[in-house]
Symmetry: C2
Amino acid sequence: MQPTSLTIEKMIEILSSLPTIGKKSAQRLTFFLLKQPEEFIQKFADTLYDLKKKIKLCSICYNFTEQDPCPICSNSRRLRDLICVVEQPDDVPIIEKTNEYKGVYHILHGTIDHFEGNSINNLKIPELVERAKSAKEIIFALNPSVEGEVTIHYIVNLLRNYPIKLTRIARGLPIGSEIQFVDDATLLNAIENRTEIK
Amino acid sequence: MQPTSLTIEKMIEILSSLPTIGKKSAQRLTFFLLKQPEEFIQKFADTLYDLKKKIKLCSICYNFTEQDPCPICSNSRRLRDLICVVEQPDDVPIIEKTNEYKGVYHILHGTIDHFEGNSINNLKIPELVERAKSAKEIIFALNPSVEGEVTIHYIVNLLRNYPIKLTRIARGLPIGSEIQFVDDATLLNAIENRTEIK
């Protein structure tokens, strides 16, 4: 095969290094981009630059933001003593979309991974412990995984003498799922965490 | 839901305007990009600019290229009197990948679409007719669709008095499929079993 252009090859290589984009999709996207007007490409490239230039971490919750503190932390109608702890910035819009949560967030930027010894130093755990001093409740909304469990356990231990409420989001059957197709661990958890009906 | 950053919203909007990328994937990709080092973003944005700045259409075959004529047209080992006609530049690497085709290409940049009256003026058909004067054989490798058929019929009619061989790749391709997604063996077979149109 004769490569027709190094720039095209480079674009395909970059796109296929992104998650969920394979070689074939990357090729398709590249040819799509080649057919777009100058303005679209300009806007795309400018926005990429802006991502790195304008977006910082909020100094309170460590979410990605353009202004510091971020819009959520600086919103006076949000309950600042109710903190929802999540693994990644991506988790925030998912919870925001429910339009029900009125507290603020704390982004850990990962979980404790036993196979990567130094990862704990990159997590915003000391910052959470500091914020916990002025909190009433901390809700853990980490992914239901071994790493998530270890991380919750570790933080709860650090906060055990704080006069605050520590909660976690419920683990159970997703709405619309069927008992037939739910895995053992989920089902076991759902039975253990059964709630009273009356 | 509280948007945390206009730049992030803009990036999500741009990415979800690309083919095969939905809103959720776009969000995921944006957060992935936010976590990448400066150099990656720089390379991505630079390559995007290069796509528009460096890539032109080859003045012979109308493929995307950085040099004119393109590497295929300027390769002295390719048979210049054997021209394979394709719809889009994306189709060229697919045929090149078979490593069997030794001729050159002609990219039409679309097909005749009866529902879009003016589309025929955007196709590189006069340019193909001109090239046909010095060709021995023209192989049509258009997608097996109504538009593909109409386009072949239209061009064959223009070339009916030329002393050249006009062939098409075998219609072993399932109707409704796209050249982009056909496996190499099928494609190779289709090229080998090309049939004469006149």
